[in-house]
């Protein structure tokens, strides 16, 4: 158990080091998030009166799309340079490897988005209660988003032009997350933390981890076969 944990933390540290040395490529998701929100505000006319009711949905869409585009290279780089084969040869369980990659990806792409939420709130001038709901909903839904995205990313390793297909494969799985997250944001303002929506969101995240990690490991095993 202990060597397995050390391997997991080793991969997390390695992924973060690679990302930090990549010349800021890992921050592109955050830039996309900002660009998407600005463009939406411009397209909708820039009036706070019209923007405020749409803000939670827009911010959530920005999060989903900025994440979806980030999964294309989650496993593709490791598969290309032979890291994946070595992981398999080293006897490390594929599930543990997937778990490590998912944790590293959470730190690298979801954490920056969560930290940028107050700024996004400023762009749309939304009240603090709504911002709190957004924060909690993204936090609760993030395991589901990462697990499903990782699954699609693993399915499309070596796929030419897989970016659009990744979106197509993941979107149906993300529909319940989106529905309950936005429901939760709205009800958080008057009902607080223990709403049905947030409980459902947590449930979906648990189911997604239970399905997503083994399915991703199975897809990666197929690729290295």
């Amino acid at each position: 158990m202990v060597p397995q944990m050390r391997k997991i933390s080793g991969i997390i540290v390695r992924d973060i080091c690679i990302a930090l040395r990549s010349g800021g490529a890992w921050l592109m998701g955050l830039v996309f998030f900002a660009v998407f929100l600005s463009l939406s505000a411009i397209a909708l006319g820039g009036e706070f009166k019209t923007l405020r009711p749409l803000a939670p949905a827009l911010i959530w869409l920005a999060v989903v799309f900025s994440l979806l585009f980030s999964f294309e290279h989650l496993f593709a780089d490791d598969a290309d340079d032979g890291t994946l084969e070595h992981i398999k040869l080293s006897g490390m369980s594929m599930h543990a490897y997937v778990l490590a990659k998912i944790c590293a990806h959470w730190l690298l792409s979801i954490l920056p988005l969560i930290l940028a939420l107050p700024l996004a709130g400023l762009l749309f001038d939304i009240p603090v209660a709504l911002l709190g709901g957004l924060f909690i909903s993204i936090l609760l839904a993030s395991p589901a988003l990462v697990c499903y995205g990782a699954f699609s990313g693993a399915c499309l390793v070596g796929f030419k032009g897989g970016g659009f297909l990744l979106v197509l494969l993941t979107i149906p799985l993300v529909v319940p997350v989106l529905i309950f997250a936005l429901g939760g944001v709205i009800s958080y303002a008057d009902a607080g933390l223990l709403t049905t929506e947030f409980q459902a969101l947590l449930g979906i995240s648990l189911i997604a981890s239970a399905i997503g990690i083994p399915a991703t490991a199975a897809a990666l095993n197929t690729i290295t076969e």
Binding site: F151, C155, L156, G158, F159, K160, G161, G162, L165, L168, L169, I171, P172, L173, V175, P176, I179, F180, G183, A200, I204, I207, I211, G212, A215, A218, A219, T222, I223, E225
Partner: protein
């Protein structure tokens, strides 16, 4: 289980499908033609909806068969995943295109029916939304098959996609229904099959069985086709190997 292991042999499956496919085709033709005839000319029109209720005989079975096709695809993928049987992969793959076509037909006829009875082509109603998402699932599955060059890998990955999708379908259905009841103020009522009078139920059932046999015919012919293609591929390298040795 006995039937499955009997048909797992490609040769026996081929023999069975060669007999069953034409029977399914003829049954489908007879049932659909009778269903359309009774549905269009020999069944009463609805008190509220008039003649437009006849769209139901095309629409409702199409959506049912679309959902059944996804279930069959996921089940075949599960068999293929556990026992690594290539025939099961072919079966799953053959379900995708007809399933997507039936789902699309359901959406299309549904929107036409919606225009005549609710006055709008599209409504973000629970059933319509989840059917649309089902279509997206089918398209994603087919895209994985189409875009992965290595066939064995494509089969396994597509199978995983189908299985993960099938686990999620109930969650999607539930969440969309929940979302719909929350946001939809005007309730949209559809005639449900069990409450229908027998004169409307008969053509509906005829069409459902007709569509099912049509689906079965399409799947069996597709699998037969791919078995004979695989046979050709296996024979070709044997013929080519002597030339390699002479080189």
């Amino acid at each position: 289980m006995g039937v499955i292991s009997f048909l797992a042999n490609p040769l026996r499956f081929k023999k069975f499908a060669r007999v069953a496919a034409p029977i399914f085709g003829v049954l489908a033709l007879v049932l659909i033609v009778t269903g359309i005839w009774i549905g269009l000319w020999r069944s009463p029109e609805d008190q509220l909806q008039g003649h437009s209720v006849r769209i139901m005989y095309v629409h409702v079975p199409a959506v049912w068969i679309g959902m059944m096709a996804y279930a069959a695809m996921a089940l075949a993928s599960l068999f293929a995943y556990i026992w690594r049987h290539p025939l099961s992969d072919e079966l799953a793959r053959a379900c995708a295109l007809p399933g997507a076509a039936f789902t699309a037909l359901g959406l299309l006829s549904g929107s036409l029916w919606g225009k005549t009875s609710w006055g709008t082509f599209w409504q973000w109603d629970g059933r319509m939304t989840s059917t649309l998402i089902l279509l997206f699932l089918f398209i994603g599955y087919m895209a994985v098959w189409a875009g992965t060059p290595d066939k064995r890998r494509a089969a396994r990955i597509a199978g995983l996609v189908a299985m993960v999708g099938s686990i999620n379908l109930p969650i999607i259905k539930f969440s969309v229904d929940w979302w719909n009841t929350l946001h939809q103020t005007s309730s949209v009522s559809m005639p449900d099959a069990p409450g229908l009078p027998p004169s409307n139920l008969l053509p509906l059932m005829l069409m459902t069985f007709g569509y099912s046999f049509f689906f079965g015919w399409l799947v069996l012919s597709q699998v037969l086709n791919s078995i004979s293609k695989a046979g050709e591929r296996r024979q070709r390298p044997a013929a080519a190997s002597p030339t390699m040795e002479t080189l």
